[in-house]
Symmetry: C2
Subunit: 405 residues, 2 copies
């Protein structure tokens, strides 16, 4: 009897979780497992704000996929997915085609620009290792250039961040810590630097406890960040953002560095492959399978699940991706072995911590509000836990965060 082919697309939190759990649970003879990823490394999406601000080297936020894969059980293919064809059960990669019996779509997110003009062209994004280090170097180049120009251009020292959600706030926290070092490095007066955050919603960190939001905003303001809340971005230009508070109060914010940190959507390959999706996210069954496709599982940022308590979708996070990956692996084992029932996913919310630099933060953990160094500590625990879940203690030792104090 032919072994079934399990193809996992993406080596992010979800995909790697499936691969590492399957290699533990299935014997060599039970299935042929393929893991496909564009890069030969996994990166910690939740640490990219640090690599982007330059407070953590990008090599610290990634590790080789090979280092957590059991080669006897999982075949790693470095290639880019072009299309999924459910009709003939295959995946088209740039370099080859793969047939599957069971497919796991864990392709992650893309920036969502909500149709705002100019964002794709002129704004930097915090999406992956490539974009993070480009942003870091762009900022550094602006500072390096400032003193070498006869006519000083203060917009080189201005960084505007679109979005005061999770990514925006965490990036601002790192940036506020990085700027004094940049000023020292390039002989620049700290007071000439401006960091501005523009958020369309009526509050920063929408969804967070208002007390924690206040803490985060005043912490960042104390470090020099200027907030424009309830202000929409109308357009991104080569010179900065055009924003509006209300319909008439239009303002141009000139800055050489413009960062878009305000939204993600699922991978567009999901839509292009014919799955019914909202912004690249497929409303999956409770077993995590795609509607009408018992052999296709969709997890992580491409999956949409409703939090029935508040009747709104769960936000896409590493935490939920990894829990989905674990359950998805269990269900694949059940299918491969042909006995037992598929499990249904239930999100176990362990809490959320938003960092404000390496030494501060806000969050809710096990239902309890925390701020300050306690939150910063918990953030590192959360970060290390993600490493542990996928790569065990060895990976934690290699890539973990131990600067606790």
């Amino acid at each position: 009897m032919k072994k079934p082919n399990i193809v996992i697309l993406g080596a992010g939190y979800g995909g790697l979780m499936v691969a590492t759990r399957l290699q533990k649970q299935l014997g060599v003879n039970e299935a042929e497992i393929f893991l496909v990823n564009k890069n030969d490394y996994h990166y910690e999406t939740t640490w990219l704000h640090e690599a982007s601000a330059g407070t953590l080297h990008h090599d610290k936020v990634r590790y080789d996929v090979a280092s957590v894969i059991d080669k006897n059980k999982v075949t790693f293919i470095q290639d880019t997915v072009q299309k999924i064809s459910t009709a003939d059960k295959k995946v088209v990669l740039e370099g080859q085609e793969l047939s599957y019996d069971y497919l796991v779509v864990a392709l992650g997110a893309e920036p969502e620009t909500f149709g705002i003009k100019g964002l794709h062209e002129y704004a930097f994004m915090i999406s992956n290792v490539n974009s993070a280090r480009q942003l870091r170097e762009h900022i550094e180049y602006q500072f390096a250039t400032y003193n070498n120009e006869a006519e000083k251009d203060d917009t080189r020292l201005r960084i505007v961040v679109g979005g005061a959600g999770f990514t925006g706030i965490e990036f601002l926290g790192e940036l506020a810590n990085r700027v004094p070092d940049l000023c020292k490095e390039y002989d620049i007066d700290y007071h000439k630097v401006k960091i501005i955050c523009v958020e369309a919603a009526p509050t920063a960190l929408p969804g967070f406890d208002p007390e924690l939001v206040d803490y985060a905003v005043s912490h960042l303001e104390r470090k020099g960040v200027e907030f424009k809340i309830g202000t929409a971005i109308k357009e991104c230009t080569p010179d900065g953002f055009i924003v509006a508070k209300g319909e008439n109060d239009v303002e141009e914010i000139k800055a050489k560095t413009v960062v878009w940190a305000a939204g993600v959507r699922g991978n567009s390959i999901v839509e292009e492959s014919g799955f019914e999706a909202m912004r690249g996210r497929v409303k999956v069954e409770k077993t995590l399978s795609a509607p009408g496709h018992n052999d296709v599982f969709i997890i992580g940022d491409c999956a949409l699940m409703i939090n029935e308590e508040i009747n709104r979708p769960y936000p896409p996070t590493a935490q939920i991706s990894m829990q989905q990956g674990e359950l998805c692996a269990n269900n694949l084992v059940t299918l491969v072995r042909g006995k037992g029932n598929l499990q249904e996913f239930k999100f176990d919310d362990k809490g959320t911590v938003c960092s404000l630099g390496h030494d501060d933060g806000v969050g809710v953990v096990f239902g309890k509000k925390i701020t300050g160094s306690k939150a910063a500590f918990m953030k590192k625990v959360v970060d290390n836990r993600a490493l542990f879940m996928i790569g065990g203690p060895g990976l934690v030792l290699k890539k973990g965060k131990f600067n606790f104090f």
Copy 2:
């Protein structure tokens, strides 16, 4: 009796030499000494190729002027010189005016572009700390951007250097050492990187012994540098250089990084202040005074002196600047004290070493040709000697190069 005012313009090799020698030789009551410099630091012009390539941090190539000045004897003024008025014996700075009894012009060099179109606008220069670190960051930004673009632009990985003279060759040596690190940092295939050097003269390192030139060129070629010798730069554009071998053989070299390292001239303030000069260099008397101005001394890159053995000007180097500074200080002491005769300058050529990265080089020292690690060693001795001459053993310990092996 009023103490005479001695004003020294510039804290480069020449100016600092005058200041440090005067503070040793003159008593507090003999003269009022002012040292004017744009920055509060001195930088090692001869090490800038390293800061530009990113092989040595720019803070390593500079030190505070205050750290080598005796504040009881020398008043340091951080300001920019705008004009020298010999008619009323004063210097106009941006922030104030200074009257002098004796003036030392040690304002250093500027890039000479020989009227080549576009160089000032589009080429990077290796002129000072500001330009060096901007160039370093520009190159790094190009490498950082490469992998983040859907359509790969290989010209981001191309660096064209105009000039195979001393600065050009030394910069190429550092660059060739730096590129493998950049490739590793940004996941770039080393073979995609191109370093091209364009030189109008019929040889690299004109004036050097042909055997040493061959050594240098083949060393750099082995490290991947491509030479276009006997090729003139016609124009610099935002896309690269337009070059020509002969009149008709025109070629466009596309590169996102274009460096002009082919020529220097004296400071234009010298000409603008009415001194008769050739490319900003004044043909000084043997006492180093400006023709017709016994109270004005011009030293370093703004001074022109003929090497009578070959009837050509001495090239502007740190070595000659420092020797001139020493003699200039002696002559000022003589003038202040009003007894004795002024000394005449005679260049004591101790040799020249051109580095090819930190571990190789070519040179002539005390009349003997050297190459390889011996030359690299001597280069560091030369670099440390410059520190010693101005700041004594303390400065050598603080800023010296000790990576001899």
